[in-house]
Amino acid sequence: MRNPRLVFRNLSCGTNSLLLAYLPYLVDTVILQQVLLPYFERLPEEKVVPDTILGNVPVAHVTQTMDYRQVSDYLVRGWIYLQIEGTACGILLYVARIPSRSLGEAQVETQIFGPQVSFTEALETNLGILQGYLSTDLLTNVSITIGKRSMTNVEVCFMEELAAPENVQTVIQRISDLDIDGVIDSGKLVQLIDDNTFSIFPQLILTERPDHVSEALLEGKVVVFVEGSPFAIVGPSSFVDFFKSNEDLYVRWQMASFIRLLRFSALFVSLFFTATYVAALTFHYEMIPSALLVSLVKSRSKVPFPPLFEALLLEMIIEFLREAGARLPFKVGQTIGIVGGIVIGQAAVAAGFTSNILIMIVALSALASFTFPSYMMSTAVRILRFPIILLAGIWGGFGIMLGASFLLIHILRQSSLGRPFFLPFFPFRLHDFKNSLIRFPFYSLGKRPVMTRSPDDTRAPDEVEKKRPGQ
């Protein structure tokens, strides 16, 4: 330990001489001053042995050590090292106050209805929140430390009896096999442990919502927390899971189903709408209905670029706006969105850069991609739009279909923790399907999803019977 900020403090209490060592910025100085120091003052005059202190020191966690290297590991996690002169072993007292923020509302995955709290960067807090949702001893953690240099704590959580052991084993195996110097965030970890790094689609969900995680745990999924990351990794996750928001469970099933369908149509709009415009205007002018033709012709008349270039240009502008909005400080960012959108849009049309209809289409497909609850998925879809537009500009409808077929084959080839990624659709599982494109009422969702291969697949047999309509 070569840290210059390390504090060594010698205390003489009667005949005892104590040595305290700690990192001041990790230790709760209030407890140190108001609890620990008075306690040391009151120590008996005669020689004390470590066991005495271990027995009655007013600190929750204490432990004993004789290993020097271990001491520094503890010190950097906010423990105080106490050495009584003349004894061989040292005592470690947990008085940490790791700097962290208080609980806040979810910022990335906002929802209107349901719990608003989100995870924070502190692992302990996260586990605490989670245990608050699931007050059961079935919730099990496995702690793993990864990163040769960062020594990051990772917790693998799952529900005993509900999670399939092979899933848990897969996750633990993949995490422990990592040989890397440091993992700071779960966003990095997830890329190291997912099934196919080459796929653009995320295969494990990242979520900051404790309710989402709790629900996933009840479905028999495995959750990974990383120290310092407010996002938990949830798996195995199917493609459809990325389009589910936990809010869908809190609103009535008709509304939830409508919203889900809306999101899936948004997926297709986002992927193929601009491409269809490009294909129709570049190759298949026959397909344009006569009522639309006049307005299309009029709006295109001033545009000097071919539709492919026009569409790519506008898509780029939208992406610039989005990225600028994300990078700029919050207050500026908001104005950029509005000002940029309106001003650039208006000016582009006035300058004859693009047609009105295309602005509408591009805005619509960008908007559609923002409806997905998963940020990763929405980014993936937005990026995929570009190759599809390109294909549409080269081969029209044939090109779009080529892209779509490739995507379909690609998705079919993916897996999440070894389970098929496209699950409720293929292989088709009626039970999982009931909670995918649409959400059926809960009485028909009495089983855990097939995706997780839970050893105990019944969720609520009695409730299910009682709530069945007509009884």
């Binding site: 205007l281 570049t282 190759f283 298949h284 002018y285 026959e286 344009i288 006569s290 033709l293 006049v294 299309l296 012709v297 009029k298 295109r300 008349s301 001033k302 545009v303 071919p306 539709p307 004859g352 390109l390 294909l391 080269i394 081969w395 029209g396 044939f398």
Partner: protein, 367 residues
């Protein structure tokens, strides 16, 4: 493995870069909306094309171009030479044939439309009184876009069941049928307006006669299922003649061959309708009165239908498709399938037993 992947990617890239399809970018095209065919004086085809062109400098969205050639493809070529845009047929909505051309036969022209993959089957075919060129090049003060104007006018009439539909597909289907002849709307320009008040009757591919839209109503009833529309009809009630309007007509027809040797057909028409207007005050709430009116309308409809059938026979055309029915019946009795000409020969001797049944459902909002 890695090298293979690279190779695949490379091949894909090459394919994409070299294999770009022929672009038909909207603004580089002249999108033909309506096409007219005339017979020019030297016996060549005179083609007139109404097309959109996307040009920021052009004052008008719609341009008309014409040219002469021997074939319709030749026309496109000669028109392309004159135009700054490539004229394409994928958006054609209406094709207008000069009636004199139609009298000589238009099969080759129509077939060329079907051969072109870019032309749809929803194109309306029409016959024009006078030159199509005059109709398409005339400046209509109320409508700057003659193509769409014509299209909407025809479509509106067909949707409202005032006119018999003659889409490209329907024309070809009727033409190829043994024992059925195609029909087309007959359009006419009267000063600054287009009138569609006649129906052109074809014998195979040749225009031979025309009937009024009123007769067209009865033809339509016999040709297809009739769902809406209205009819003003003169009935004889208690030895008085008076006019009545029936509407929301829906009809079914049934035709049977009664006799194969001396071709005789039974034609049964069942109609339901609503009385909209009577020229005289008659109390229709009484069942016997209503019955009387019903009978009178039946009689009037029957008479007009018979007149129409007589007219069709006189012109030796069969747009209803009696020949088809006859052919089926004769095949069922074990004879060989008739050819087009045999069928037409037989139909010359045809007799019809018309039977009309009308049910008045409502009599408007007052009794």
């Amino acid at each position: 493995m890695k090298r293979l992947r690279l190779l695949v990617h490379y091949l894909l890239m090459v394919a994409l870069l070299n294999g770009c399809g022929e672009q038909q970018v909207l603004e580089k095209l002249g999108l033909a909306v309506a096409v007219g065919y005339d017979l020019s004086k030297d016996g060549q085809l005179l083609g007139t094309t109404v097309f959109y062109q996307i040009d920021p400098e052009a004052r008008e969205l719609v341009t008309v171009i014409s040219g002469t050639a021997h074939t319709s493809k030749g026309l496109t070529l000669s028109q392309n030479r004159e135009s700054s845009k490539k004229i394409v047929g994928g958006q054609i909505r209406v094709v207008v044939y000069h009636d004199e051309l139609a009298r000589k036969g238009i099969l080759a022209l129509v077939e060329n439309l079907t051969r072109d993959a870019s032309i749809g089957s929803n194109v309306y075919l029409t016959v024009a009184k006078g030159r199509a060129y005059d109709i398409l090049t005339h400046r209509y003060p109320e409508n700057s876009n003659i193509g769409i104007y014509l299209y909407q006018a025809i479509r509106q009439n067909i949707d409202g069941e005032n006119m018999i539909s003659s889409k490209l597909h329907e024309f070809m289907k009727d033409y190829y049928a043994i024992g059925k002849d195609p029909v087309m709307p007959y359009i006419e320009r009267v000063k600054n307006e287009l009138h569609i008040n006649q129906i052109a009757l074809f014998r195979d591919q040749r225009l031979v006669a025309e009937i009024t839209t009123r007769e067209g109503f009865f033809l339509k009833v016999l040709r297809e299922r009739y769902n809406k529309g209205e009819l003003e009809i003169n009935i004889a009630l208690d030895k008085k003649r008076l006019f009545t309007v029936i509407e929301h007509i829906s009809s079914k027809k049934q035709m049977k061959v009664l006799d194969l040797e001396k071709p005789r057909f039974s034609v049964k028409v069942k109609m339901t309708a609503q009385i909209q207007e009577m020229a005289e005050k008659i109390d229709l709430s009484k069942p016997e009165q209503l019955n009387k009116v019903q009978k009178a309308i039946e009689l009037a409809v029957k008479k007009e239908t018979e007149q129409l059938l007589e007219k069709l026979r006189k012109h030796d055309v069969d747009p209803v498709g009696f020949g088809e029915i006859y052919n089926i019946a004769s095949q069922k009795s074990g004879k060989k399938k008739l050819s087009k000409d045999e069928c037409r020969e037989i139909m010359k001797r045809a007799k019809y037993d018309v039977d009309v049944e009308i049910k008045i459902l409502r009599t408007g909002v007052i009794g």
